[in-house]
Symmetry: none
Subunit: 229 residues, 4 copies
Amino acid sequence: MHRDGIASVGAPGDDQVPVIADKPPARRRRKDGEARREAILDAGLEIFSGLGLHGASLDRLAERAGLSKANLLYYFPSKEDLYLAVLRRVLDVWLDPLQELDADSDPAEAIRAYIRAKLTLSRDAPQASRLFCLEIVQGAPLLRAELEGPLRGLVESKAAILRGWIDQGRIGAHDPHHLIFSIWAITQHYADFAVQVDAVTGRSLDESDFFESTVASTQALILTGLGLR
Amino acid sequence: MHRDGIASVGAPGDDQVPVIADKPPARRRRKDGEARREAILDAGLEIFSGLGLHGASLDRLAERAGLSKANLLYYFPSKEDLYLAVLRRVLDVWLDPLQELDADSDPAEAIRAYIRAKLTLSRDAPQASRLFCLEIVQGAPLLRAELEGPLRGLVESKAAILRGWIDQGRIGAHDPHHLIFSIWAITQHYADFAVQVDAVTGRSLDESDFFESTVASTQALILTGLGLR
Amino acid sequence: MHRDGIASVGAPGDDQVPVIADKPPARRRRKDGEARREAILDAGLEIFSGLGLHGASLDRLAERAGLSKANLLYYFPSKEDLYLAVLRRVLDVWLDPLQELDADSDPAEAIRAYIRAKLTLSRDAPQASRLFCLEIVQGAPLLRAELEGPLRGLVESKAAILRGWIDQGRIGAHDPHHLIFSIWAITQHYADFAVQVDAVTGRSLDESDFFESTVASTQALILTGLGLR
Amino acid sequence: MHRDGIASVGAPGDDQVPVIADKPPARRRRKDGEARREAILDAGLEIFSGLGLHGASLDRLAERAGLSKANLLYYFPSKEDLYLAVLRRVLDVWLDPLQELDADSDPAEAIRAYIRAKLTLSRDAPQASRLFCLEIVQGAPLLRAELEGPLRGLVESKAAILRGWIDQGRIGAHDPHHLIFSIWAITQHYADFAVQVDAVTGRSLDESDFFESTVASTQALILTGLGLR
DNA sequence: GATGAATGAGCGTTCATTCAT
DNA sequence: CATGAATGAACGCTCATTCAT
């Protein structure tokens, strides 16, 4: 139903068939190379998110990406390099919704939209969420720098917006960091713990009524919690 | 400060030095055997939670547990067996607080206590939480049965309690499953994503003021969200 | 004819069959382990001296030593470790004759004996000489430290003896370092360049008349060169 | 100080910039082609002499020669082909001084000149000497034919000259083969075992006083050994 | 001529597991 | 109980070589 993987999310419509068939060879070759890189990254997302860095083997990755192990290593010099490349692509996509949070918006509307955007990602790119989760849970041995740099900066700037709203009395007093963590935790839970959600409820975000009820529930909990209802 | 691991939680005071030194050899040996099993399970928790099933090697596990690889395999016939044993011990501890949720309690009090109990576990046994998270995120290949059996049953029975409270108008109308997931998500986030929390805020649940503010924040968000304030 | 390898030189008679068959198991096991180590070192000498560090494969080494590749790595943690162990054993044997050079001896007799000892080594342990040669020629990447330490010290002390003899007018004035290098060069040539010697003359040190004529020739050249005839 | 490599020895002044810039393309291309061949051979000498046939990789060779791996294989169809080409060029240069040995010369003068010529090569083209040494030490698997053919013939003819001088009583009686081997061994030692010489004495043939004293020492030893002093 | 892309074979090494003692 | 020794399978990676362009 929903495309699993983040290519479709990060760059929709990217893989349109070219109208004119015979491009000059140089360009065709480069296109092919980049398409292969993408295929490898897609395979990496799929397999790393299910087995972790150590559980994934180059053989499986290559097989899934449709090329030979040696050829895969031509594009990414080591398994870890591939893993990191996948992780970075994930991180970018994953933080995108937060970037949108704007001081000039209506707080209720902005938070409602943010929750929906995050849950949409959890539905459309659950593997990305899981891979990110896997890495963080294990102590982020390869991503720590990115967490302490860009992520921290982004969160600080958005926390400032929330604090502004609190100071203006537009939302209830609730520590901005805790609020952000709570929204992250709840929305990502439906991707990261999807098997558990499924085991307990038999439902998945792929079912649109469950998706909508999850969005509504989460929005209600948070907005009411912030005194916005 | 807080003991990391769940032995201290599940079986406090377990490793006291026996008062009388020379027990009969048969009994001593058996005691030693169980102590060794515990030591191996502790090592397993520590290492599996940091490296995952595939990232952990028997060599490391044995070294950490203080015995030889071959001897470790005497106690647990395979790496997967050990992994499962650790996981099961974790699951028991992890579900314990939910068992306490009682229909006859005051809803606000019960939920407040539940949140505190879960966050206490996140503080005192973060590795257990992480190991459980790791397993679920990867699709619970070895735990699915336990999720669909005991876990589902437990959640259903507690959801029924919540539904009862809602029907009685004692808490706001909020889907019980979503409510339980939200509490799980938020409280476990502080264990599972501890590095991220630390990277962004520089704080950890080990610091008692941060622990208390986290408890208060979460209780406020959930209880307000349920119209209990 | 002559045992190739240095075990026979360094530790003659070492592998005698024990008179009493059933040793206690602990001792037997250790014996076996050491015998295997020796077998591996022998295989290492044989193969490294013919193919160099990079040309030798663990598969070949293991096959020659009569065990599995994985088992070989149980005794030596890496190929390079094995290579170094072989090299060190070689170096010890190789420098031994020089140690014997004694200030109190008759110079002519001492030099004559030294030349014979070196040529005997070239005959009995040519692979050791070749492995050492291979390593030095490639710049001694793994042995440089040993050259600048122990070797240099040994040479200096023996050069002092030669210088003493020169000062006493007992041998002709010839720079001691150059003299030592010349003797090394000539005597080792018959091991290191054995194929070339064979290609040009059709002879080998294994033939006793060629061995004796080589000894005589070299002694004559050097001793006459030093004015001792 | 001294150019390392044999291009400078075998074909001095070969890489002069052409006076007239724009040659007709056909000829230019061919010239470029040969220059590239030379560059590859130079790279081959440098790298093979340091790492051996098996230790050198096409990637390194291509990088050093300044072209792509695939292009390198256009000039030499396989790594072994390149290795052999380098080796043959080395062999030619290496035997050159011996060719000069002339029956009509004064024996003392001829031998003195030969020693100096060989040591000059050891100084100016040590890598050539080392590569040759490496190959012979490993049993000359690729060069045996050349040793038993041209080399043997050359040595035989020169040994005849020496034997003539002996018969005429112009030099002391010393087996010609042994004499040639001794001169080879000593003179090449300063190239092949340069690291060892350096480790022991701290000197190198690149220092002109050490070079001259080595020449003098060697000439003295050999000529005195032959009763020419 | 020149090169980027591709690959099969092999390498050194790790690892879970077995076995004898 | 406990361990040193042993192994087959798999792993990540390198490499000489090929091929299409």
